[in-house]
Amino acid sequence: MNRIFSLIILFLSIQNFVFGQDTLSTVNLEEIRITGTPYQKYAAGSKIQRIDSALFASQISGSLAGLLQAATPVYIKEYGSGMLSSISFRGTGASHTAVLWHGININSVTVGQSDFANIPLFLFNEVALQYGSASSLYGSDAIGGTVHLGTKESDFDYFKLDVKQEFGSFGRFFTGIGGSYRRNKFSGTTKIYRYQSENDFPFQNTAKPGSTVEKQTNAAFVNLGALQNLNYSWNNRQNLELEAWYQSSRRELQPSMVNLKNTDQQKDENFRLVVAYNKTLKSGNIRAKAAYLYDYFLYNQSFITTSQSLIASLRYEHDFSEKLSLNTGADWRRVLGKSDNYATNNAENRNDIFLSLRYNPFPVWSLNLNARQAFVTGFNAPFAPSIGSEWQLLKTDHQQLILKNLLGRSYRIPTLNDRFWTPGGNTELLPEEGYNLESGFSYTYQDKNVEVNSEAGIYQQWIDNWIIWVPMGSYWRPENVRKVHAHGIEWSGKISSKQKKFNWMIGGNYSYTRSVNQKGLNEYDQSVGKQLPYTPLHTASAYGRASYKAWNWINQVSYTGYRYTLADNSDFLEGYALVNTSIGYQPTLGEGKILVSVGIRNIFNKAFQNVNNYAMPGRNYQLSLTYNLTK
């Protein structure tokens, strides 16, 4: 019982006990316009999945956690409805996915991961997943995959306004206002939203004698966020951009159904600011960036953890010819962490130098060579190279088939908590290291009315020195104990059709993920050779949308296979399929458009648990009103 005190906070802040899980894919050959991040150009061989914009729009009042569950087979581990949501990409853990905003990793430096429930879709308009290791491009954390967040509004001439109000079951209210404007050389976007929920949904309490129906307690939350983007373009060769993002979340922490009397709560605040300057030269370009990140975490109004990062980045890209491009530069990051659970404040430098080459020996063949070396205070960070290739096997007017191959090395620098938590922090930890090997085919078909994308691939991944917290006497302490081999198959595809009055699209994802621990703590460790906990073997999702004149309908199914809850696979949670649907009517109203939509989530009222003993809502409803004006 002595361990409980420190464990409660650890449990909230670190999910290393329980590794997480993963998955899949889609090809999109369109260049993804995410400012200052030329990730597609030097990412040959990587599978990049861009989330369908209509699906994105249908979930806009929610968080990235909900969207990824609906539109990708990545596994999101959710500690209750709207609560801490961590990602597992390709059978890796919650800290093994980099989340990039303007190309900057925003994973918390104290806990080493992002809470996907605290990334609101409303402030963004684009999300792309890059599968597999990309440490050679993005540095630490990009082991299982990378999530790119995009904020650039471009589909307007000089003014755009979005106003959204949503009402839902269990006291859910969402209000969001967003405006974009352009005048001469100047443009900007302002967005603000508030999302709250009582979250007092009924559920059958299977943890209590008699399995009575109870109401969820202590799960209310209020999220607020605002984003401001300003852009000044001298001409189309030179621009300066500033973006600020404020995020606040006050949450009661939904207790497990074992103890509904628990009243724990937490507050998170994040402030992120970036200034970027881009200049296109005769045969290349320069990008300079400065950023400041601030994270604040308050647990039960008594334990505070804050961290700050100051970042500067400079890169230069040179196109020697149509066949050969080079991208090189350096990142500098100063990290400062403070916590009631650290003995001292901790400051360190994380500097990187990198070089990327893109070479097209033949028109049908692209090759990438990337390399990155990080220099972190107190660490020998691994050298992270990668080689990627894309071979166009088939190219006709309408069709294209590409063979992709990628081999890369990845790593993760241990978090501040891993090293400085008192008691238990381990300053002798080594970075986690991985190798990733993958191969896949990407097929596209496109004609006037129909577009088809399909991408299938296989991968293998080896991760060594995987850190987990293990009890050492009276304390828990992180150690480089696990060695994990993950491999799997991924498929994703979609078909869309555009006609005069009738548009439709269907798409789907599937992934098979086998992620196995290879190393035991001692002779009694029964987890060797077993699937990692909270790593479903199978995940799948399918979605469809259709619109006819002013009507539209979206339906979406996601399946999460059974997951072991324990490392020795002695217990598991059953798999579940969830079906959501919504129907909307969008007449034109003067110069603008108004959308009225009614949605039903978990339409079959499936009782399920994502995490053991955490209740999730059954069937629930929402009504939303959106006004959109574009000039």
Binding site: A207, G473, Y524, S527
Partner: protein, 363 residues
């Protein structure tokens, strides 16, 4: 159906004894005693899953029965188990996270009562149980934040064991750990202090306190009826002490410094009551967990452990054969293991149990 089989067995047993004229043994006294002659293994469970369970090791057949509470009651305990204590015919399963006491008939493990509080002032983070007659006493940490602060809101819950209801509470000035009933007194280890509190089971009030050493945690009674208090020390002063108290006078008779050893609070005593075993950990770099034995007439500790290893989470001594049982929690990564040693530290066997095994109850 089960009842009918039990009745049939009862009938046959009685019938046999009736005609053979042997003296009845405990089989006859408790004919439904499925769990009469073995070892209960307490599996604490993992905090986030609250999946505590009880395994039963049948010493005759060497067979392990997992999660016998669920097997007998068709539901899980759904709590983190702190300890299981016997009183008369019942076993009291003290759980937190769920903050409840599950009461089962020890022989059958069928539920007698599930004592749940109406609010957190009645039961919150309970850690131990002791009983005198028809009164039960449960030590509670109270709210965790306060329990580790300067002003713990810890308390004792008094249970009426006739109807298994909560009848009263007593405030405690310190964070408690284990308890022991001696005669009409309840000893409470005040682990956030250096005091053992004594509760008078007549008046249900704190009657006295005894100064021992830093962080008293658990109790053992030796063959002379003396009470031994294991004091764990704390983060700043990690060496522990074993303190002997004369329960007749409440006087401290001996204090033995566990030189260079950091006990985690788990103790056991051998069948003849003259050798105390305790579990220690070196912390980390490297982390070694060790079991030491201290003869009750010793004046200094032994530096040679009986056994060493890692992830040791609980110990027990089988009073019938003095076998040493060590519970290995396998770092909470899944189910645990019980390793059985001879009293000289020679390994005999091991068997798998539930998640995070932490202690034993010998029947």
């Amino acid at each position: 159906m089960r009842f009918e089989i039990k009745s049939l067995i009862l009938f046959l047993v009685l019938f046999t004894f009736f005609f053979t004229g042997c003296a009845p043994d405990k089989e006859v006294l408790t004919p439904s005693g499925k769990y009469e002659s073995g070892i209960f293994v307490t599996n604490e469970g993992n905090f986030s899953d609250s999946d505590g369970s009880v395994s039963y090791y049948d010493t005759d057949s060497s067979k392990v029965y997992p999660d016998i509470f669920a097997a007998e009651n068709n539901r899980e305990i759904n709590g983190l188990i702190q300890l299981i204590r016997m009183h008369e015919e019942n076993a009291y399963i003290i759980t937190n996270v769920a903050d409840k006491i599950e009461v089962v008939q020890a022989g059958t493990f069928t539920s007698v009562a599930s004592i749940t509080p109406s609010d957190t002032s009645e039961l919150q983070n309970p850690v131990d149980f002791a009983a005198v007659g028809d009164k039960g006493y449960v030590a509670n940490w109270g709210p965790v934040n306060a329990a580790f602060g300067p002003d713990p809101q810890s308390f004792i819950t008094i249970l009426n064991l006739n109807n298994h209801t909560i009848s009263d509470t007593i405030q405690l000035p310190v964070r408690p750990q284990q308890m022991l009933a001696v005669g009409n007194k309840i000893y409470v280890a005040g682990s956030s202090s250096n005091l053992v509190y004594i509760i008078d089971a007549q008046s249900d009030a704190i009657a006295d306190s005894i100064e021992v050493s830093k962080a008293p945690y658990s109790f053992t009674i030796d063959k002379n009826g003396k009470v031994w208090v294991l004091c764990t020390g704390d983060f700043m002063a990690p060496e522990g002490n074993l303190v002997r108290i004369n329960p007749a006078t409440n006087a401290v008779e001996a204090t033995i410094l566990l030189t260079g050893q950091s006990p985690n609070g788990k103790t056991a005593i051998n069948g003849s009551g003259d050798q105390i075993y305790y579990l220690t950990s070196t912390g980390y770099n490297p982390s070694t967990d060790q079991v030491f034995a201290l003869p009750i007439d010793a004046t200094a500790v032994s530096t040679d452990p009986v056994v060493s290893g890692s992830n040791f989470y609980g110990i027990g001594i089988n009073p019938e054969n003095n076998e040493l049982l060590v519970a290995d929690n396998n770092a909470f990564q899944g189910n645990g293991t019980v390793i059985v040693y001879q009293s000289d530290g020679t390994k005999i066997r091991d068997f798998s149990v539930g998640r995070a095994p932490s202690g034993f109850l010998f029947r």
